[in-house]
Amino acid sequence: MKDTWIVIKEILKGAAVTGRHFLANMAFHTLAVFGLKTRRKGAVTIQYPEETKPLAPRHKSLHRLLRRENGQPRCVACMMCATVCPSECIFIEAAETDDPEVQKVPAKFVIDLNRCCFCGFCVEACPVDAIRMDTGEIRLASTDRAGLEYPLEKLL
């Protein structure tokens, strides 16, 4: 018998929680319909394609390769990023260059985003700060696999 009262109390408590949410949110929705701005909104939803959430400053998004002052890629094809990459998604083909300061440049530099896990190890491993993940680009969908293989030209 004592249990019955506890159960009834809890049932009413549950209804009070949902009822309170309903009434409070409806009040804020109604205010919004009448054009009144409130600090709290009736829903926490972000209507994604139209509204986006600001990314965190250190958010790891699509990679980019940085350029030297003369416009050439900074990358020296040292293969550090390709080595450290846990997903093995970076493919570099090195080429020689006449510049004695640089010696090597990437002839090909492909990041296969099909495999990339966005861990950021490549950024940490790079000795010349040639690769960063700060483009803020997170909409990377493609209709085919080839579309997610980003070559050097797309990354620069």
């Binding site: 949902t18 949410h21 949110n25 829903a43 939803t45």
Partner: protein
Amino acid sequence: MTGMFIVLVKIVLALTWTMVLALLLTWVERKESAVIQDRIGANRASVFGFRAMGLFQPFADAIKMIFKEDFVPSFSERGLHALAPFLSFFFVAVTVVTIPYGDAIRLGGRRITLQAVDVPAALLFVLAMLGLGIYGILVGGWASNSRYALLGSMRGAAQLISYEVALGLSLVGLVMVFPSLRLSEIVRFQGGLLLGFLPKWGVFLQPLGFAVFFLAALAETKRVPFDLPEGESEIIGFYTEYSGLKWGLFMLTDFLEVIVVACLATTLFFGGWQVPWLEAGGFRFPWGGSWRLAPWLVTVLEVGAFNLKVFFFCWLQVLIRWTYPRLRYDQLMDFGWKFLVPLGAVNVLATGLILALK
């Protein structure tokens, strides 16, 4: 001949009202659950870029269901498989014709009651039809010829039959207080005043009866706290082998049951179309004032009051559906047989005692 025609028109109107309300209820279900959970809910369905708060969502759902493949498993009993959703739908939809939407109106010298068919034993008729609705579940589960569907339908049948007992018992007390089985007369009985100010609604005369009725009726709708027949996410239910429009018909039946339960709760316990202190000539307040109203305004108020009460009970049921977790099967049976049925019996005895002593 004209009488026949009027009855037909009334039946069509009553069914249309119910169907529109059922469509609206799918939208209400989505939106209310969203508001409860701090979300926005379906709002993308649009016609010519016009969204109208997702009100087109039911139509989008209907179009989707119509164009879905009507898959019938090769091992199923074809005829019965096709029949089951219609059985389930028919027996619920047919109860709507007995619900009084309002008092009578005068149209061209003819008195037309705002009730499709005034069945003499409407209360028994409604209970019987809700009971026959079990056949939709049983036949559906059996004809699917799949073990999970069969088990689901057996759970459903056991649950509905168990709660039918409590449902019937809860209404016995009501019939003792309002000595009629006609829904129109039960509503008329609720027109008076109690202790001089309280409207003489069933809920004030039969609070325990209402509690038992509402809980048992919730179980009859087989929605979430009592959704063991279907258990869409975990336990597989009786319409597992259905798809497309037949599945939609089962779903629509669920919403119709919500509406029928709301209508019954309104009609039996909340005065139906009665507005507190409103009489044929206008309001007469217990504190002495009165307010004369035109007859058409009184009718509009009464029909509006009925709709408002039905909306409220629909809202309440959706709230309950989005609040409570599902009962375990033994808890369900315990609750029905060891709690609601004895409570209903106590209610009948107490009502009888009070009536005898009065």
